[in-house]
């Protein structure tokens, strides 16, 4: 398949996935007890008020018609209005999303910078004590609920040792957030832990696979030093599946951010979502879900494209 044809098909798939997500979100909005009218007018509203509201908002029209109204709104960037904060959901998300992206990107970078060399190092020492110890630690990190890890971090590094504050930066702008770097340490570590676990395992497996390939043996036979082979060939070839995995990891990062933001009181989209859930602010909840889903689908799409561009084997349909 030619690259352009492949790209077209992948983008089309991504669009279909996003349409399915909008159907799910729309369905959820209408499956709510009492529907959107009950949500907006509150539990005290009478049946007449609800009927009048439904008529006014077009909610008594057939569902497919309503869905197309909803889709039309979305295409114009309208995600509805928050029940409790009385602000457009799109505006709330635009304010909060950059902070969440900052947190997730920092966690991802820290996670990868540690996980990639760790995985390669393990592969070089396969089945030696160091490998077993790191494998066990990875499994433990993967098995730890993020909120438990965050709590232990706060108890140790904030309460007992007073090294880092227990609360994340509270600033509204990214510049303000960056002005308190020490306050970002614990949230980023909590967000990066499971990532280190997963990606070091992945890098270890990929490196082992590459080390057994013919080209490594050829290079060795040709007299190249192990270190040179490792960095010049194995490293680059092992990175490809890791990049692909990164795209699939976007939802996990967002899930982690939800917990981390709540735990460290970091005013990003995760905390917005959390408070919205406490007050049953459905437009905010569903708007966030939609934004996260689009981010994930885009992430996966980019990972697939990057993988195709950097790995010639994928193009040939071998991997």
């Amino acid at each position: 398949m030619s690259t352009s044809k492949y790209l077209l098909r992948r983008v089309l798939q991504a669009v279909v996935v996003i349409v399915i997500v909008t159907i799910v979100v729309f369905g959820l909005l209408h499956a709510l007890p009492g529907g959107p009218a009950r949500g907006i007018l509150g539990p005290q509203a009478t049946a007449q008020q609800i009927t009048a509201f439904n008529h006014e908002q077009g909610l008594d029209k057939p569902l497919p018609v309503q869905y197309f109204y909803y889709l039309n709104q979305l295409l114009h960037g309208d995600l509805g209005t928050s029940y409790t904060l009385n602000e457009p959901v799109s505006q709330l998300i635009t304010e909060r999303l950059p902070k969440t992206l900052l947190l997730t990107v920092l966690s991802a970078v820290v996670g990868l910078v540690l996980a990639i060399p760790l995985g390669m190092w393990q592969a070089m020492r396969r089945n030696k004590p160091a490998d077993y110890i790191i494998t066990t630690l990875s499994f433990i990190a993967y098995s730890t609920p993020v909120y438990f890890l965050g709590l232990v971090l706060v108890l140790v590094f904030s309460q007992a040792l007073s090294w880092f504050p227990s609360q994340a930066p509270q600033g509204d702008t990214l510049a303000q957030v960056f002005s308190e770097p020490q306050a970002l340490v614990l949230p980023v570590v909590a967000g990066a832990a499971s990532m280190i676990a997963v990606f070091s395992r992945y890098m270890r497996a990929a490196t082992l696979e590459n080390l057994s390939e013919d080209y490594v043996r050829t290079a060795r036979a040709g007299g190249s030093r192990s270190r040179a082979i490792l960095w010049r060939h194995v490293f680059r070839n092992s990175l490809t599946p890791v990049v692909a995995m990164l795209g699939y990891y976007v939802p996990v990062l967002f899930g982690g951010a939800l917990v981390v933001e709540q735990l460290f009181n970091y005013p990003g989209m995760g905390l917005l979502f959390w408070t919205a859930a406490q007050s049953s602010d459905y437009p905010v909840l569903l708007g966030c879900v939609l934004v996260i889903a689009i981010a994930t689908v885009t992430g996966t799409l980019l990972a697939d494209i990057v993988q195709r561009v950097i790995d010639p084997r994928v193009k040939a349909g071998r991997a």
Binding site: P145, M245, Y282, L285, C288
Partner: protein, 299 residues
């Protein structure tokens, strides 16, 4: 396998014997994986601890006992007591039952849904497969924690409801694995033969595709149970948990969150370690099974 079928021979019987000796081989390979064997031991220990433990170590887990609140670990309460006077060691057994049952049931349910979905999609192929897998993509695009938090805004489920909800947010990964397996199986001779002699699609899936994917399914289920137990730990934290006086390990952790800042470490460390150990153990077992059966699964 020959495409010629003898009268009276039941297709699939031949593979059953292969599986039996394969199982012995797999068992031998599993036993050689030390971490997996330790994992099996840890799981066995926690089942005994939670289900037999209370018979040996009997504690009151229903009444509020104000005269013994937040006591530090001592000879009479090995792991201390919590904010309403419940013995923490006893509570660890009591809450563990819920965590293990819900985790196991939700993990198995997720695997069943994922297996059926993946097998049908892979077997059907064409546009049915395309649509079914885009639904999976859409599901994966919405993180489970977010869905669970939305659900918690709408309703508080009972135990069965909780299992169903957890099962329905975590079937996506197994569905992809089983679909891949089905794609490689559906053009085998025995499936084609069955179709040629007039067997139905349902029979092809139930009698051939699923039995031949059993090792993939078992491995997927083990990892799924690990993930489900971890997810159960989040449930109380997200406001969906089982209602007091009942509890689970996640509920104990959430209840101890604020108390931990006052130095009551014994309220959070025991349930936290229990969750980590059991989730680790199921992951180690899954790792061992995957290597033993030599199937592809998650890294």
């Amino acid at each position: 396998m020959s495409a010629v079928i003898q009268p009276g021979q039941v297709p699939g019987k031949a593979t059953a014997t292969v599986t039996a000796s394969g199982a012995r081989l797999a068992a031998r390979r599993f036993r050689r994986n030390r971490l997996a064997v330790v994992g099996l031991g840890v799981v066995a220990f926690f089942f005994l601890f939670c289900f037999v433990g209370p018979l040996v170590y009997s504690t009151d887990q229903t009444h509020t006992l104000l005269q013994q609140v937040n006591l530090a670990p001592s000879g009479s309460h090995w792991l201390g007591t919590d904010a309403v006077g419940h013995d923490v060691l006893g509570r660890l057994m009591y809450g563990g039952k819920v965590s293990l049952i819900v985790g196991l049931a939700a993990g198995v349910l997720a695997t069943v849904i994922g297996t059926l979905w993946g097998a049908v999609a892979g077997y059907a192929g064409g546009w049915i497969d395309a649509v079914m897998m885009r639904v999976v993509d859409a599901g994966i695009a919405i993180p489970a924690l977010f869905i669970l938090l939305v659900v918690s805004a709408i309703t508080t489920p009972d135990l069965t409801g909780l299992i169903v909800i957890l099962g329905f947010v975590s079937w996506l990964v197994p569905s992809r694995l089983i679909r891949a397996e089905t794609l490689s199986l559906k053009n085998r001779d025995y499936v084609l033969t069955l179709r040629a002699i007039g067997g139905t699609h349902a029979r092809a899936i139930i009698r051939h595709i699923l039995p031949n994917s059993v090792s993939t399914i078992i491995v997927a289920a083990t990892f799924q149970i690990a993930d489900a137990i971890l997810l159960v730990a989040y449930v109380s934290y997200l406001g969906l948990g089982v209602q007091p006086p009942s509890t689970d390990w996640g509920g104990m952790l959430s209840a101890g969150l604020t108390a931990a800042y006052s130095g009551y470490w014994w309220l959070i460390i025991p349930p936290g370690l229990a969750i980590i150990l059991v989730v680790w153990a199921f992951n180690a077992i899954g790792d061992g099974l995957r290597d033993a059966f030599d199937v592809r699964g998650r890294g």
